[in-house]
């Protein structure tokens, strides 16, 4: 009899799913309790979460560490800027597919070339291509050059029906749009991981060499994942345009890509919800740092250093660390961290 197959990276128990549901409820309730400033901060955090989540499809699920992912995010935001006329906002149902499409096309081109390489090479090549996109927006006047540009935010509208809010309540509308997108993205990725396609990605992460030897054209699977991840980064970038109404080259800079990687590590590489936690934590940390000191980058650098040195499993590793320090007879629960990818045999 075929054994039960746990789906990697998703909660393994009912309490796990319950915890996630509670998180969603908490996020949904925030606008009722918090002042506008924190609602907007929450939207920023959820955008970061979507970016990190989209990257997790590559890093945690497939084992592809890309340093150019932020470029697709920024490209999507710039696409909204370029598509929007100077005086009027476009409805979401037009701008979102456009942004995702642009990000997807760029990801297809970059991926087709980059995925011919592996490991360190792949890292550097994705970095370089990301820089290429950065160059386009930084060194030319296409997107307003180094200063960036303002744009008229896309409207929360679809096929004639528009959600019109008074100015003061617009951030709340934007917040819920972001929340819905985040939940939908998580749900969609969860279904993907459950599918046969998701199994292949997991196999590639564990031992790509053997996957090829079994008969999988792994290049095609990786490319599909790369394009999908790029499009999802595009969703996040589009949301940024809706949220801030402003684009600048920092959005496509490689520091953004590195931050996305950090959020994944912070929240835990082995789960799908980890990047979300990591993103919320990172944005929260940035806020706290700004309240305490002018040297925000210094605090951030020290935190990253600490996390990498002390917590190789991210925040979810805090539980393991705590048990090791304080001692506990209980076996750690939850999905174990994924094993390192196995190297192909020599000779």
């Amino acid at each position: 009899m075929a054994p039960r197959m746990p789906v990697p990276m998703l909660p393994q128990s009912r309490s796990g799913w319950l915890a996630l549901a509670l998180l969603v409820v908490a996020l949904a309730g925030l606008p009722w309790l918090a002042p506008i400033y924190y609602i907007e901060l929450g939207t920023t955090a959820m955008i970061a979460a979507m970016l990190a989540l989209s990257l997790q499809l590559l890093v945690g699920c497939t084992g592809l560490v890309s340093l150019g992912h932020g470029a697709f995010y920024g490209l999507a935001a710039y696409t909204v800027y370029l598509a929007t006329p100077a005086d009027a906002g476009l409805p979401m149902w037009m701008t979102l597919p456009l942004a995702m499409g642009a990000a997807g096309v760029a990801a297809a081109l970059v991926g087709a070339l980059s995925l011919r390489t592996k490991g360190f090479f792949f890292l550097m090549v994705t970095l370089a291509f990301g820089q290429m996109i950065f160059f386009v927006f930084h060194d030319t006047k296409i997107g307003g050059g180094t200063d960036g540009a303002y744009l008229t935010r896309p409207l929360i509208a679809a096929f004639g029906f528009e959600l019109q809010l008074p100015r003061r309540q617009r951030p709340i509308g934007t917040y819920y749009v972001a929340l819905i997108q985040l939940v939908a993205m998580y749900g969609g990725l969860a279904l993907l991981l459950r599918s046969l396609f998701g199994r292949v990605l997991d196999g590639i992460r564990v031992n790509e060499h053997r996957m090829v030897a079994l008969g999988f054209n792994t290049y095609r699977y990786k490319l599909a994942a790369f394009v999908l991840a790029g499009m999802l980064a595009g969703v996040a970038g589009h949301m940024w345009a809706m949220h801030r109404g402003f684009v600048n080259p920092e959005l496509v800079g490689w520091h953004r890509s590195a931050e996305a990687l950090l959020m994944i590590l912070l929240g835990g590489l082995g789960t799908l919800h980890g990047p979300i936690i990591g993103a919320l934590a990172w944005v929260g940390l940035g806020e706290a740092a700004q309240l305490l000191t002018e040297r925000k980058l210094l605090v951030e650098g020290l935190v990253i250093l600490a996390v990498v040195l002390v917590l190789p499993q991210g925040l979810s590793g805090l539980g393991v660390l705590g048990r090791r320090v304080f001692g506990s007879p209980r076996v750690p629960s939850g999905t174990p961290a994924p094993a390192k990818a196995e190297a192909p045999p020599h000779g």
Partner: protein, 255 residues
């Protein structure tokens, strides 16, 4: 034991196959054939080119010269993954399984590779019975069905070698390339594998690389002796055993 080769079209054939690495010729002009139902062993001292030969056949190395034909079709240019779909399966000398996945998942992936048309890719893995059934059948064949739920890395070495073979079976390969399946195993386990291989050779053609001479002479229908990248002798076991050149070069006290 399989029937004689004559009159049977070979399932796998090489013609003048060779591979160089810079100035070093690892495999010279090797021409061998593998017929359906045959258990064909390739033996030779270390450095004879056996591993290179297997890598050429599986596609992990590109040939410098010569041809490889699978069921009459030239496959020398075909990438590794494509050869699997044409009926070639390969196991590894150094165990190359998915250690952190379950035994079942190891084999299920192998089955999925050849069982799943593209349009079913987005369906939940649990609902697709074809790869799961093929996986359990393959595990049963190598007597590992009870271990299906265990994590592959926790299996004993001998069981991991069996898992290697199961993975080639789940892919429905017609030709099995087995690279030292006995590596690191004790004598009783060797018996088990010998029985398994004899059983498998009724449905598959098997090309086997091995060092254990007792084992090879006990199971093989046909043998090829390689020395220095070339074929020294090629024939049924008795002929090979009696061959003076082979005795001198390799067999020692096995006359």
């Amino acid at each position: 034991m399989a029937e004689t080769r004559h009159g049977r079209t070979p399932l796998l054939a090489t013609r003048g196959l060779g591979r160089d690495f810079g100035g070093l010729t690892a495999v010279r002009e090797v021409s061998i054939t593998l017929s359906p139902g045959e258990l064909h062993a390739v033996i030779g001292p270390n450095g004879a080119g056996k591993s290179t030969l297997v890598n050429l056949l599986s596609g992990e190395l590109a040939p410098s010269r010569g041809e490889i034909l699978l069921a009459g079709q030239p496959i020398g240019d075909a990438p590794v993954w494509q050869r699997v779909h044409m009926g070639l399966g390969r196991s590894y000398q150094r165990t190359n399984i998915f250690r952190s996945l379950s035994v079942f998942e190891n084999v299920r992936l192998a089955a999925q590779a050849v069982h799943t048309p593209g349009r079913r890719l987005l369906r939940p893995a649990t609902r697709e019975s074809a790869p799961a059934d093929a996986a359990m059948a393959a595990l049963a064949r190598v007597s590992l069905a009870d271990a299906a739920a265990r994590i592959a890395g926790t299996l004993a070495h001998g069981e991991q070698r069996l898992l290697e073979i199961a993975m080639t079976l789940a892919g429905y390969a017609k030709v099995l390339l087995l690279d030292e399946p006995l590596a690191g195993m004790g004598p009783e386990e060797g018996e088990r594998i010998a029985a398994l291989l004899r059983d498998l050779s009724t449905e598959h053609a098997i090309l086997l690389i091995e060092h254990d001479m007792d084992f090879v002479f006990a199971v093989a229908d046909w043998m090829t002796v390689m020395v220095d990248g070339g074929v020294l002798a090629d024939g049924p076991p008795d002929v090979i055993r009696a061959n003076a050149a082979v005795q001198q070069a390799y067999l020692g006290g096995h006359a």
